[in-house]
C-alpha cells in the first residue's frame, strides 16, 4: 500500500486544532452549555397531542397562561409531539403536573403526557457534580493506566488528545446550543474510552517500531506507524460510525443527542490520535532511548 505522508500536515493541523480548542473554550466560557433539566433543575414534559392543529405557538401560549416562568416549547420528532421545558418544579404540590394537564386539556384539547421529568435544585446540583466527577475520574484513570503501560511522553500525548476531543465536542454542543443531559455525560465518557483506545493502538505500534529501528527519526517513525495501523483505524471508525448513525437515525428522539455526541467524539478521536497524539511525541523528541531506558528499569 502507498504510504501517506501524514507527518507533512502535523503543523497545519496542529494550528487548526489549537484554533478549534480556543474557539471551543471561548464558546464554553461566554456562551456556556445548554443544560437540560437533569443539571439545571426544572420540569420537562413530553406531550403528544391528538389534533394536527396544535402548533408550537398555540402550546406556548397555553403554557404561558399557567405562570410557569420561562417556557421553552420544541417539536420532538413528530408533528404531534412536543417537548416543553420550564424551570419551575414541583415545589411540593403533588397535584402540580395534574393541574397543568387539566388546564392544557381545556385550551388545546386532549393531551397525552408521554414523559415527565421533574428535578429539584438540590438533585440537579448533585447530578451535575457527579457528572463532572465522573468525567474527571475517567480522565485521571486513563492517565494512570497509560502512565503504567507507557512512558510519560506517550501519556502526555494521549491525554492532550483526550482533552482535545472532549473540549471540541463540548464546544460543538455549545455552538449549536445542544442540550447537555445525563446521557451526554455517558457519551463523553465513552468518547474518552474510544479516543484512548484509538491512540493506544497507534502508540503500541510506535513503541514496537522504536525498538525495531534505531536509525529512523521519530518524525518519520510516527508516520510509518500511522500508516501501518491506518487500515484498522479506518475500518473500526467506520463500523463504529455505522452503528452510531443507525442509533442517530432510527433510535428515536431520546437518543439523538447521545449518538450525536458520540459521532462527533469518534470523528475527533480518530483525528486526534493521528494529528495530536503523534506530533506530541515528535515535539517531546521521543527516541529509542526513551523506551530502552524504561525497559531497563
Amino acid at each position: 500500500m502507498r504510504e501517506i505522508s501524514f507527518n507533512k500536515f502535523y503543523k497545519s493541523f496542529n494550528i487548526l486544532s489549537i484554533i478549534l480548542i480556543i474557539t471551543s473554550l471561548i464558546l464554553l466560557a461566554f456562551k456556556g452549555l445548554n443544560y437540560g433539566v437533569d443539571f439545571k433543575g426544572g420540569t420537562l414534559i413530553e406531550l403528544r397531542t391528538d389534533l394536527n392543529s396544535a402548533n408550537i405557538k398555540k402550546i406556548r401560549d397555553s403554557f404561558n397562561q399557567l405562570n410557569l416562568g420561562d417556557v421553552s416549547v420544541k417539536n420532538f420528532g413528530n408533528d404531534t409531539d412536543f417537548i416543553i421545558k420550564f424551570e419551575k418544579q414541583n415545589s411540593n404540590d403533588p397535584k402540580f403536573i395534574d393541574n397543568i394537564k387539566t388546564k392544557l386539556s381545556g385550551s388545546i384539547g386532549t393531551v397525552d403526557f408521554r414523559r415527565v421529568e421533574n428535578v429539584g435544585p438540590k438533585v440537579s446540583a448533585e447530578l451535575l457534580q457527579s457528572g463532572i466527577i465522573a468525567i474527571v475520574l475517567s480522565l485521571a484513570a486513563m492517565l494512570l493506566y497509560i502512565w503504567i503501560r507507557f512512558e510519560w511522553q506517550f501519556s502526555l500525548g494521549a491525554i492532550v488528545a483526550l482533552f482535545h476531543d472532549v473540549i471540541i465536542t463540548l464546544g460543538v454542543f455549545s455552538l449549536f446550543s445542544l442540550e447537555i443531559n445525563l446521557s451526554i455525560v455517558a457519551a463523553v465518557l465513552t468518547i474518552v474510552g474510544y479516543s484512548m483506545n484509538d491512540t493506544v493502538v497507534i502508540f503500541d505500534r510506535v513503541r514496537e517500531n522504536l525498538r525495531k529501528f534505531s536509525d529512523i527519526k521519530i518524525f518519520e517513525l510516527t508516520n510509518i506507524s500511522i500508516n501501518q495501523t491506518l487500515s484498522r483505524t479506518i475500518i473500526t471508525s467506520a463500523t463504529t460510525l455505522l452503528a452510531l448513525l443507525s442509533i442517530f437515525i432510527f433510535g428515536g428522539e431520546i437518543l439523538k443527542g447521545f449518538s450525536l455526541a458520540m459521532i462527533l467524539g469518534v470523528i475527533f478521536g480518530t483525528y486526534s490520535s493521528i494529528y495530536i497524539a503523534n506530533p506530541i511525541l515528535v515535539i517531546l523528541k521521543v527516541s529509542q532511548r526513551t523506551i530502552v531506558k524504561e525497559d531497563k528499569d
Partner: protein
C-alpha cells in the same frame, strides 16, 4: 497456537450454548424458576414512575430536643441542681444554672456513666456535644446522634411509604434507602403517579383536640385553619387522641346524613382516653386535625365510649378512601418532599423499545455487510463472532437479571460497532505477517500473538470508562455502563475463543492457498 484441544473446543461450545439459551429464553415463557430468567426492562422502556423522596427531618430534631429538655429538667431537679432559661432553636438547647453548681453540672454531662447519657452505654459515644460558657450550657446533637436519629426516622418512614404504596396495589414496586435521608420509589407500569404522590406527600399526623372558647391565641392554645380555608379556630394544645391509637379506618356512608365519612376503630388505650375526654367535654367542639389543618370540628353530643367513631368533612368517596388509607398506614415521622420525579408513559416505553431494536438490527446489518465487503471469508468469521457475541452479551445480562434501559440498548449497538475492532486488529496484523512469513500457520499465529497487548490495552481503556460510569451514573446511564462493560468482556471471549477457532479451522484446511486473507 492455532491448535485447540478437544476439551477446550467442547467447553467453548457448551459455554456459548448455555448463554445463548438464556438470551433466547427472554422470548419464551418457561415455567421453571431457575431457567426462566428474564432481562428486566428499565422504567424508561416499560414505562413507570421514579420518585426520589427526601425527609425533612426538622420536626424530628425539634421533637428530640424538646424531649431532651424535659429529661434534663427532671434529671437535674432530682439532683437538686437549679437549671433555668431553657431555649431550643433549630439544633441546640441552651440553659443556665447557678454559679455554684456549674462545675458539677459540667461533670455530670461529661460523665460516660451518668444516667443522663444513656446513649453512651450502647454506642460508646455521646448523643449530644456540649459547650460550657460560664454558667450557660449549650447542647447540640453530636454527629453520631444526628446520624442515628436520621436513620431511625428514615427506617420508620420507609416502612410507612411501603405500606402506603402496597395499599394502592401497584405492580412490583421497588422501595429503597438512599443515603440517610432519602427514599427511592420505583413504580413500574405506573403512567400517572398523581395519586401516589399525593399519598406520599402527606405526613398524616392525625390528632383530636378541643376547640377553646377563646378568641385570641394564648398559652397552651394555637390558631389553626380549616382544611377548606373557610375559617380559623383556636384549639387547645392538649392532644386528646392521636393517629397512633387507631387500629383501623375505612370509608363508609353515614346512614343519617348520606355523607361519605371515614369510620375508625381505636385500640383499648385510645378508646379509654376518647371515652373519658368526650364524657367531660360534652357540648364542646372537638377538632379533628390532620397535618395542622382542621378537617372538621363536630360538637360532642354524648360520650363516645365504644372505641369507634366517624370523621366527616365533605369527602368524596376517593378522598375518604385515601384518608382511610393514610390513617391505616400510620403517620410519617417527618414530611417527605419529592425532589426528583421521572415518569415515562407505557406507550413511549414501547416506542423506545421498537426504535432501539430497529436501530440494533440496522446497525448490525450495516456492520456485517461492511465486514464481508472488507474481509470476505474472514469477514464471515468476524460476523460469526459478532453474532455469538450478541447472544453471549444478552445471555450474561439475562443470567444476572440486569436491567435493560434505552441507553443500555445503545450500549449494545455500540458494542456491535466496536466489537469487530479486535478482529480487525488481528486480521490486519496477520496481513502484515504474511508478507514476511511464508508459512501461513506461523503467520496467523504471530498475528494473534503480536496484536494481543494492543487489543488488551484498547479494551481496558473502554472498560475503565464503563466501570466509572457504573459507579457514578444512575438509572438509565447505569444500564448503558453495564451493557458497554459486559460487551467488552463478551467481545474478548468471542474473539479469542470463537473467532479464533473458526480461523484455525479455516487456515489449517486451506494452508496451501495462495492468498488466504
Amino acid at each position: 497456537m492455532l491448535y485447540f484441544s478437544k476439551l477446550r473446543i467442547f467447553s467453548v461450545i457448551i459455554f456459548t450454548l448455555i448463554l445463548s439459551y438464556f438470551s433466547i429464553s427472554n422470548f419464551f415463557k418457561i415455567d421453571d424458576n431457575f431457567f426462566s430468567k428474564n432481562i428486566k426492562l428499565g422504567l424508561d422502556l416499560q414505562g413507570g414512575s421514579y420518585l426520589l423522596l427526601e425527609i425533612d427531618n426538622k420536626p424530628v430534631i425539634t421533637q428530640k430536643l424538646q424531649n431532651k429538655v424535659m429529661e434534663l429538667k427532671n434529671f437535674f431537679k432530682d439532683k437538686n441542681i437549679i437549671t433555668r432559661n431553657y431555649t431550643v432553636d433549630d439544633n441546640s438547647i441552651i440553659f443556665d444554672t447557678t454559679p455554684d453548681k456549674s462545675d458539677e453540672l459540667n461533670n455530670i454531662l461529661d460523665d460516660d456513666e451518668s444516667e443522663i447519657n444513656p446513649y453512651y452505654q450502647q454506642y460508646k459515644s455521646h448523643e449530644f456535644d456540649f459547650v460550657k460558657d460560664q454558667d450557660s450550657f449549650k447542647l447540640t446533637l453530636s454527629k453520631y446522634g444526628l446520624v442515628l436519629l436520621k436513620n431511625a426516622s428514615l427506617d420508620q418512614a420507609i416502612e410507612i411509604v411501603r405500606r402506603r404504596v402496597d395499599e394502592v396495589g401497584t405492580n412490583e414496586p421497588n422501595i429503597l434507602k438512599r443515603g440517610n435521608d432519602r427514599i427511592l420509589v420505583e413504580l413500574p407500569g405506573l403512567g400517572d403517579p398523581g395519586r401516589i404522590k399525593s399519598l406520599l406527600g402527606k405526613t398524616a399526623n392525625l390528632t383530636f383536640q378541643f376547640i377553646t372558647q377563646n378568641t385570641e391565641e394564648s398559652f397552651g392554645t394555637e390558631k389553626l385553619e380549616f382544611e377548606d380555608g373557610s375559617e380559623n379556630a383556636i384549639v387547645s394544645k392538649r392532644i386528646i387522641l392521636s393517629g397512633d391509637n387507631l387500629v383501623d379506618a375505612k370509608p363508609s356512608m353515614n346512614s343519617q346524613t348520606n355523607e361519605t365519612v371515614v369510620s375508625f376503630t381505636l385500640d383499648r388505650v385510645g378508646a379509654k382516653k376518647f371515652g373519658k375526654a368526650t364524657s367531660t367535654g360534652v357540648g364542646k367542639r372537638l377538632a379533628i386535625i390532620l397535618d395542622g389543618k382542621i378537617i372538621s370540628a363536630p360538637s360532642v353530643r354524648e360520650p363516645i365510649i365504644g372505641g369507634s367513631g366517624q370523621i366527616s368533612g365533605n369527602f368524596t368517596f376517593q378522598s375518604a378512601t385515601d384518608l382511610a388509607l393514610l390513617l391505616r398506614s400510620g403517620a410519617l415521622p417527618a414530611p417527605l418532599n419529592i425532589i426528583e420525579e421521572r415518569t415515562v408513559g407505557p406507550d413511549l416505553g414501547q416506542d423506545s423499545i421498537d426504535a432501539g431494536i430497529m436501530s440494533l438490527i440496522i446497525g448490525f446489518i450495516l456492520v456485517v455487510l461492511f465486514m464481508i465487503y472488507k474481509y470476505r471469508v474472514f469477514g464471515v468469521i468476524a460476523n460469526l463472532a459478532l453474532i455469538s457475541n450478541l447472544f453471549l452479551l444478552v445471555g450474561v445480562l439475562t443470567l444476572f437479571e440486569a436491567t435493560l434501559t434505552l441507553p443500555g440498548i445503545a450500549g449494545i449497538i455500540l458494542t456491535v460497532g466496536m466489537a469487530v475492532d479486535a478482529n480487525v486488529l488481528i486480521f490486519e496484523r496477520i496481513k502484515e505477517e504474511i508478507k514476511s512469513e511464508r508459512n501461513p500457520i506461523i503467520a496467523f499465529d504471530s498475528g494473534y500473538t503480536k496484536s494481543r497487548t494492543t487489543i488488551l490495552d484498547a479494551n481496558i481503556t473502554t472498560l475503565i470508562a464503563a466501570v466509572i460510569l457504573f459507579f457514578m451514573g444512575s438509572g438509565p446511564i447505569k444500564g448503558f455502563s453495564i451493557t458497554l462493560g459486559v460487551g467488552i468482556l463478551t467481545t474478548l471471549f468471542s474473539v479469542y475463543f470463537i473467532a479464533r477457532l473458526f480461523t484455525a479451522f479455516y487456515v489449517i484446511k486451506n494452508k496451501e492457498k495462495e492468498s488466504l486473507i
